[in-house]
Structure formats: C-alpha cells, structure tokens
C-alpha cells in the first residue's frame, strides 16, 4: 500500500478531504470552544469569531478607516438621535447633559434583507410553520441538524431587533449586559422583574413570547423602524449597537428552539444562531470542527471603496466595490496544542497563525532596528506578518482602600510612584512577551482617542525625557520617593519594620514562578519584600470584590474604541468594593470623576482631548495602577491570502478575506511531498531483527543437537 501510495501524487499528510483541495475555503484553528453563541449571552472573542460573521447588529465598524468609524450595517443611515428634557421637549445636540432626561434613537433598517435558511421559517403548502409545533413524528426522525428537511427564510424586520433587546432582560437568557443596560434603557429593569415573575409562573425554561409584553425603551414604529429610549445622555451607546447583543433574533426562531425535545438535541440559539450575515453556521462540533458557509440569502454588501491614506498603495482597495464575502466556507479546527498548530501552518494547512512564545524564535527575525519580520524560512514561503496593537491593557492595580498602598496622602502616593518606577515593564515585555507590547504611559492604548505616542504622551512620574526620547526614571528617584513615603531603604521610618506587600495573581503552570520571581525582583530593588498570593480565578475575584488585596494583576479588553471604555475603570462610582463595578482599584478622586462626567458626553475633538489629558495627568500622579503594557498581536498569513488590514475592534472581518486556492494547492503539494525512505529503514531493522532471532534459534537448536 505504501509503495502504491509513493507512486501517486497524493499529499499524505493533508488533513482535509481531497475534494476540498482547490476550493475557496479558509482554514483557521481555534483553541477553546465558545461557551455561548446566543447573541444575548456571547461575550468573548472566541464566540465573536463565529457570531460576528452570522449576526448583523444595526451598526458595524468601517473595515479600513482609522480611527475606528461606525457605519450602518443593516440600517439605511446612522440612527437619528433626539435629546429630550424633563418636559419631553426636544433639546439641541449641544445641550447640557444635566438637562437631557432621555436620549431617543430611531433606527430604520433596509428593506430586502433576508435571514439564512432555517427550519423555523419553513412553511407547508398552507402557509403554516412546518416545525412549529414540532410534531412527535418529526421528533422521532430528527436527531441532528442535518435531519431537518424543510428550510425557509423571511425578511428582517424591526421587531426582530426589539425582540432581542427584550431578551437582554429575560432571566432565561441571563445576558451579561443586563445589569449595565438596565441602567440606560428605559424600563428594562422593570421589564426584567416582570419577566422573572412570569417565568416563575410558567416554569424557568418555558417559552415566553416577549412580543406580548411591551418594553418602553424599545418600540417598533413600523415594519422597518424601531426606537430605543435611554435614560439621560449616553453617546457610547452607538458602539453597543455594533455588538452582537443588539443583533436581531426572530421571535419564531426563539419559539422554535423552546419546543419539547429541542434542548436535548442541542438545538438552541446557543448552538445554532440565526442571522442575516454573510455566513451561516453549518457544522457546530466545538470538540472538533466548526464550519461557516456562505449564506445564500445574504443581501449583497460590497467591499469598501475608501480607506486611510496608504491603503490603496498596500493593495487594500484593489477589490473596491466587489460583492462580499469572498470566501465560500470557513473551517475552524480545534487545536489544543501549540506545536501541532504551528507545524500545520508551516505545512500550509492553516491560512493564518498567531505566534506562541515556543515558536517565536522560529517565526520572527528582528532587523537591526529591532523591527520584527518573518524569519527567512517563512519569507521564502511568502508568509507575511502584521503586528497590530490590541485595544487592551495589562496592569497591576493598587487597592486604594488598603492602609499601606492605598489612600490619597502624599506618603501613599509617593510609595505607589516609587513602585511604578521600579517595576520595569520594558524588561517584562522583553522577557515574557518577546517584545510584543508597548510599555503603557496611561490606561488608553494606541488607536483610541486620547493616546499620545512619544514624549507628548509620557508619564512624567515614571519617565523623563533624554535627548528627545523617553527613559524610565532612575532607581535613585524611586528611592527618594520611598523616603518621602516613609520607607527609607524599604523599612518603615517609624517602626523600622521591613515593608512587606502582598501580590495577588492567578498565575499557574510552569511559568508562574518566573512571573512571581520577576515581580519580587522588581520590588526588591527598593528593598520591598513581596509575598505572592497565587489563587484560582474564583478566589482571586472574591478577594478583588472584597478589597482584600494590596497589589493585584489584572487586564482590560476594550468593548468599544472610546476612551470612556478605559477611563471608566477609575470612575469612583464604579468602585468594585462599594458598587461591584469595574473599578477594581477602588480609585476615587472627585476631581477626576468631575472631568470624567464631562468627557464621556463629548464627541472626539480638541475639547475632549484636553479633558482626557487632564484626567491622565491626575492618574499618573495618583498612580492607582502600575500602567503595564499594551499587548501587540503578531499574526502571520500565508502567501495566498490577499492583503488584509488588522481591525482589532471589528469582529465581522472574515467577509473581507480573500485567498487564492490554486496557489495554496500548488504550495501545499510542493511543501508536503512524502519522504518514504524512513519506512524502508524501519522495514530493514525489522528484517534484521527477525533474521537475528532466526539465527539465534538455529544456533541454539544446533547446540542442543550436539
């Protein structure tokens, strides 16, 4: 068989069917299965990798424009916004936020948008839903999704969007943003209480037709228009309208999935989401493979015809005006281990790859200026590298409620500033991240309004300017601050006791000790002793909630590209201990809070930037965080992938990806010619073993005969 195989052109290590060899399919891998795909529940990057291709919230981000720009996705135009005062009178857009009692958004969707084929839309000759109710006969014959024989579609309507907003309040759904949104959407909190009452009466998982219960904050005006009412002014709400939480859910699909026997077969919105997007999920086996295929009813979006300066030169406007999506099918394969994933990318079986620390040296070669490039081996294969900075920040927080590191006295501030200088994040990025990050000067990462690169954005407490460059202040400065803090030489000036700080983290695995030792070494520069308290996720979160920490490791990924989404992490009323908010340092500065309340209502521009600069200066002085780093993602793509532009906020970008399947098939065949001689050697070894056994046997028999 092996000899026969050697004579054919077959690529023996190809993990995909031969029929797919020159197909227009994108091959990707995934590390962890998404927990939820229900648009009201999914809130993680691995879930968005799928749902953003299937579901269409009303808005989306422009693929090419920077700064990130919202554009309509299913709407005819951006939502119209009206501010109302207490008397219900319309206010101008520049009205004082204190006067605005309500913000009213009206959204008009484009007619002619249709859902993907789905059994919930199937109708019989009489026009009745085919699977609603789901008859016992069908239940006995349908065990997996492929067993459904009848599919249908229908047009997207405003009611579908309103239905999803109502679902955010449903106790059956448990949306993670219900708490947040109930503070903004008019009546959503009371609606949730009412639904909880109804669910208790009906049974916790019985179907509740939300169309029967009106929500004042989300109303259908006509077939294609709906209105959302918010308490007060909340300009960032538009960003939420680009997230899958606000994607449409057809009520009949929800009713379909609530029928007896559906959950037992994993037929649910959490497993089979339904949308109007460019792709539909045709295989959902998160333990093996997830497959997206082109939605035949997709409404014909086209590739953008404008972008940033330089995009045209980079070949990013070559396909302007062409219909999307480009790729027919996207196959996500589970790869739990780094090494097989990487080797399959090298063999051409994945079209994109991230780079782990294990494979970094093999993948990246820095030039004389330290700029990363694909290694010569990868360059020979035509593999290219993109290095976008993520809208995220990794930091170490000080618990401002702690009696030693917290508080707002000059002494406490000096202690935090001294530690901020001593903990060298440039070194951290070099050692633990292979240089894939930027040392942070504040909480706002690059690409977000308020970030300033270079000297103008420098944190003057931790850095100073040297010959036009920024440099971390010396340890002498830090030690001077320690004296001001009352800890000369790392000992209390009052008692002489050494300063001992607790460092809470969730580090596990073989690298945990290295991380902890590194931090201990940083603090030891100031003779501060450190005790690491590594705990599991639950215990760690519990300590944060109770405020039982001094220094703790944390991070934040942006929900949307607005500075408010980072600066609210320091807003006093969001304090973790007092209100369960996201301000886990429990920082509270009235001056900062006042500036935040002004800033959050402003559009991007000089006035807002001025406020942000003031806020950052306050944070840098108070130092409630060790502003750690902004991570950079290194992404490799194969030669057959057309030029693409990283968009770290938008998740629905697979529709813009284009590949050359012919080139891929040729490269794969050239890179994967089987090597047969080792089998020959192995066969020889086995034969030699058999021969030696046979020889020994004959020798023994001869000696016995004698």
């Amino acid at each position: 068989m092996m000899l026969l195989a050697g004579c054919t052109q077959r690529v023996w290590n190809d993990p995909y069917p031969t029929s797919e060899r020159v197909s227009n399919i994108l091959y990707l891998s995934f590390l962890e299965r998404p927990k939820h795909l229900d648009p009201a529940r999914a809130y993680s990057a691995d879930a968005y990798a799928l749902t953003a291709q299937i579901l269409q919230p009303p808005l989306q981000y422009h693929y090419l424009k920077r700064p990130y720009t919202l554009i309509p996705q299913t709407l005819t135009a951006m939502p119209t916004l009206t501010y109302l005062d207490a008397a219900g009178k319309s206010l101008p857009a520049t009205a004082n936020p204190d006067q605005v009692v309500e913000s009213v958004y009206e959204l008009h969707i484009r007619p002619g948008i249709y859902y993907q084929p789905h059994p919930a839309f199937a109708r019989d000759a009489g026009g009745h839903p085919y699977y609603l109710p789901w008859r016992a006969k069908d239940r006995s014959q349908i065990h997996q999704w492929q067993d459904f024989k009848h599919f249908g579609t229908r047009e997207l309507t405003a009611e579908d969007y309103v239905y999803e907003i109502k679902r955010l309040a449903s106790p059956q759904v448990n949306s993670p943003i219900f708490g947040l949104m109930s503070g903004y959407i008019v009546g959503l909190k009371a609606y949730g209480s009412m639904l909880a009452h109804m669910a208790n009466k009906a049974g916790p998982n019985d179907y509740l037709d939300l169309r029967r219960y009106d929500l004042p904050g989300a109303q259908v005006l006509d077939r294609y228009t709906y209105r959302i009412r918010l308490h007060g002014k909340y300009p960032q709400f538009l960003y939420w309208l680009a997230m899958p939480f606000f994607a449409p859910v057809p009520p009949e699909v929800d009713a379909f999935y609530h029928q007896t026997g559906m959950a037992e077969r994993n037929f649910s919105l959490d497993w089979h989401p339904v949308g109007t997007g460019p792709y539909q999920l045709t295989l959902m086996d998160p333990n093996w493979r997830m497959v997206l295929e082109r939605n035949p009813n997709f409404h014909g979006e086209r590739y953008p015809s404008e972008g940033e300066p330089g995009d045209a030169a980079a070949g990013l406007l070559r396909d302007a005006g062409k219909p999307l999506p480009f790729v027919d099918k996207v196959v996500f394969s589970l790869e739990k281990e780094v090494i097989p994933n990487w080797n399959k990318f090298l063999q051409g079986y994945y079209d994109f790859s991230a780079i782990s620390s294990d494979t970094f040296a093999q993948a990246i070669t820095p030039d004389a200026q330290g700029k990363p490039h694909p290694s010569p081996v990868l360059q020979a294969h035509g593999i290219t590298l993109e290095t976008p900075t993520m809208p995220a920040v990794g930091y170490v927080g000080f618990n401002m409620l702690d009696s030693v590191v917290g508080g707002y006295s000059e002494r406490a501030r000096a202690l935090r500033q001294a530690i901020s200088i001593a903990v060298n994040y440039e070194e951290f990025i070099s050692i633990f991240m292979n240089g894939r990050g930027i040392a942070a000067q504040g909480p706002i990462p690059p690409g977000i309004e308020g970030y300033q690169a270079g000297v103008s954005g420098m944190n003057p407490v931790v850095y100073h300017q040297v010959n036009g460059h920024i440099e971390r202040r010396s340890l002498a400065d830090a030690r001077h601050l320690m004296v001001e803090a009352g800890y000369p030489g790392g000992r209390s000036a009052r008692t002489g006791a050494p300063l001992v700080l607790y460092y809470d983290n969730t580090y596990t695995g073989p690298e945990a000790k290295a991380y902890v030792d590194w931090m201990a070494k940083q603090l030891a520069k100031l003779n501060i002793q450190m005790i690491s308290r590594s705990s599991d996720f639950n215990r760690f979160q519990d300590k944060i909630r109770r405020g039982n920490t001094q220094l703790f490791v944390a991070g934040w990924d942006a929900d949307y590209p607005d500075p408010e989404n980072f600066l609210f992490l320091f807003y006093g009323p969001n304090s973790k201990v007092s209100s369960g908010g996201e301000n886990d340092a429990n920082y509270r500065n009235p001056q900062y809070d006042a500036l935040f309340n002004q800033m959050k209502y402003l559009d991007n521009g000089p006035e807002r930037e001025k406020l942000i600069t003031q806020m950052l200066a306050i944070l840098q002085q108070d130092a409630p965080w060790l502003f750690g780093y902004f991570p950079r993602q290194y992404v490799l793509s194969q030669a057959w992938v057309s030029p693409w532009k990283p968009n770290m906020i938008a998740n629905n970008t697979l529709k813009y990806v284009q590949i050359d399947p012919g080139l891929r098939a040729r490269d794969r065949a050239a890179w994967n010619r089987p090597v047969w001689w080792p089998l020959g050697v192995l066969g020889g070894v086995v034969l030699a073993l058999v021969a030696s056994v046979s020889f020994t046997r004959r020798k023994r028999e001869r000696s016995l005969a004698k």
Partner: protein
C-alpha cells in the same frame, strides 16, 4: 455465578453512592454555585441578580444537602445533592452548565476515543506479549540483554516525548500522515494511525518488561521442566504452557482497564486533535462545569466496577480452579 454477580451489584450501589457523595462534596468545597455562575457569566458587568438568575436556571439555587425551609423528608429531597443524584442513577446526565446535552456529548465523543484506545490496547498487548516472549525465549543471550536495555530506555522516556517526536518525524519531516485532526468513518485510519503507533511505542517499555518478568517466573516452574522433558519444542512450551499460565497477572492489569478505554486519553487526544472523551473532564473542571464532572466521575466509577467484574470472569476462564463462591 448469578449469585456472585448479584452480590457484586449490591456492593456497587454503596460504592457509587460514596463516589457521588465524595465528588459532590469535593467540588462544592472548592466552588460555590456563585463561583460557577461567575465563571459562566464572565467577569465583565456581572451583577448579583444575574448570578441568582443563573443559579435558578441551572438548578443550583437549592441548598446542597439539607433544605431547612422544607418540612420532613422534603428537607432532604429538595436539595441539590438529592435531585442530581437521583437523575444520575437513572442515567439521566442532563445538560452541562453551558446548556449542552451531556448524553449526546458522551455518545459523540466515545467513538473517536475508542478508535484510538481499542487498537492501541489490542496492538499494545500483542506487541508487548510478543516481545516479552521473544526476550524470555532468548533469555541470557545478547538479544535479551539488548532488549532489556532498550525497554528500560523506552520506559524512561516521557509519553509526551513520543507524541512530539512522532509528530515531528513522521508527520512534519516525513509528511506521511496528518499532524493532527480527525474525520469520522472509514477515513479516520489516516488520522488515528500515528496516535496508535505512538501510544503503542510509549507503552512498549513498561509492558514488555512487566510481561517478561511474569514469563520468566513461569518458565522456572516444574511444569515447564516437565513439558521440556516430554520433548516439546521451545515455541510450544512458551505459547501453550508459559503464556497460558502467565495469563492471570496479565488479565489483572488488562481486563480491568478495558472498560476505561471509553474514557480516552487526555494527552494523546489533545495533541492529535481527536474529539474524544479524554479532555472532556479536564475542560469541565477548568470551566467549573459540575454537571459534566459529576457525570464523568460516575461513568468512570461504573466502568471501573465493570472492569473488576470482567477481571473476575476472566480469571475463571483462564484458570478453571478459580470458582465464584
């Protein structure tokens, strides 16, 4: 025989109850239902009412062992432990905490696990016994010394090394099979070949050494000398006498693990991308999915008990002197 089986069945009930109680206690000692809710709801914007709603929806709102609000025996019945145990003993594993049917997952994952584990077991047993017999046959010769040295070397190497080396040499450098992946059906041979070979290789050192020592012990016994004295050749002595009498200790190890093959192998499945049961428990523990952990521990216990029964049955088959009494 029937009495024996019934007696073993009666023993199994308290064992399974104990295992269930232990799993339940250990899990909830480390994770409260609130922790589980937070893990599933995520860390951003989660409120206490959302946590309470999650607990109600997933049946974790009840007290763990004793419901002081209920009178009489309902104080014990309306508890998390009672309700979940009753369903499990009825083999109704329900849904995982992320809403997916556990029975369905078990059915889907058992096949891929078995497609690796069963051939590995059979082939491994065959290779190990064959090599051990060969070394015993060639005892005290250069072949034996070489074999013993080789097995010691093989058993000293981590199984992870075999996997990584196998993937690197066979799949990456020689490009003879896919590095990882799986397809259901007949085409799966393409994907399971390397994991099977690697798994067998990883077990050869231990297995061959173990079986060699068993056979060496047998070969020094009187019945072997008698067989030789009768003029039987060495192959006959080894295969008809030594192998048959060495079966009891082999069966002790081999048959007991037979049902556990369903549980798959974490490392092999993880590296080779086999969608089996191997990683199901680990994933569930990481996700704090108690429903899955409980179901898998219960199934593991049941399979282990079945393994012990099968071992007893195999004893009587291998050695007619063994009687069930």
């Amino acid at each position: 025989m029937m009495t024996y089986l019934l007696r073993r069945l009666a023993y199994a009930v308290p064992i399974l109850l104990g295992v269930n109680l232990l799993t339940f206690s250990l899990f909830f000692m480390v994770n409260t239902p609130d922790d589980m809710a937070r893990m599933h709801l995520g860390v951003k914007h989660v409120t206490q009412p959302a946590i309470e709603a999650w607990k109600v929806q997933h049946g974790y709102a009840q007290p763990l062992f004793y419901n002081a609000r209920e009178p009489g025996w309902r104080a014990w019945r309306d508890t998390l432990f009672f309700n979940q145990s009753v369903h499990m003993f009825a083999l109704d594993f329900g849904e995982s905490d992320d809403g997916r049917n556990i029975g369905e997952a078990l059915r889907a994952r058992a096949g891929p696990s078995l497609s690796i584990a069963l051939p590995t077991f059979v082939l491994g047993l065959w290779v190990n016994i064959g090599l051990a017999l060969m070394l015993v046959w060639a005892r005290a010769s250069w072949l034996d010394r070489f074999g013993v040295t080789a097995t010691v070397v093989l058993m000293s190497v981590s199984s992870l090394f075999y996997i990584i080396a196998g993937q690197y040499w066979v799949a990456h450098l020689w490009r003879l099979v896919p590095i990882s992946g799986f397809v259901p059906g007949a085409d799966s041979w393409h994907f399971v070949l390397l994991p099977i070979v690697v798994s067998v290789m990883a077990g050869v050192g231990n297995g061959t050494r173990w079986y060699r020592s068993i056979f060496l012990e047998e070969i020094g016994k009187d019945y072997v000398r008698t067989a030789r004295a009768k003029g039987l050749n060495e192959s006959h002595v080894l295969f008809r006498h030594v192998l048959q009498n060495g079966l009891i200790p082999i069966l002790t190890g081999a048959v007991a693990v037979l049902p556990l093959l369903f549980m798959g192998s974490l490392l092999t499945e993880s590296f080779f991308g086999i969608p089996g049961l191997g990683s199901y428990v680990i994933d569930a523990i990481q996700a704090q999915d108690f429903a899955v952990v409980r179901a898998m521990v219960f199934i593991g216990s049941v399979l282990y008990l079945i393994g012990l029964w099968l071992t007893d049955l195999a004893y009587s088959w291998a050695d007619p002197r063994v009687r069930f009494s």
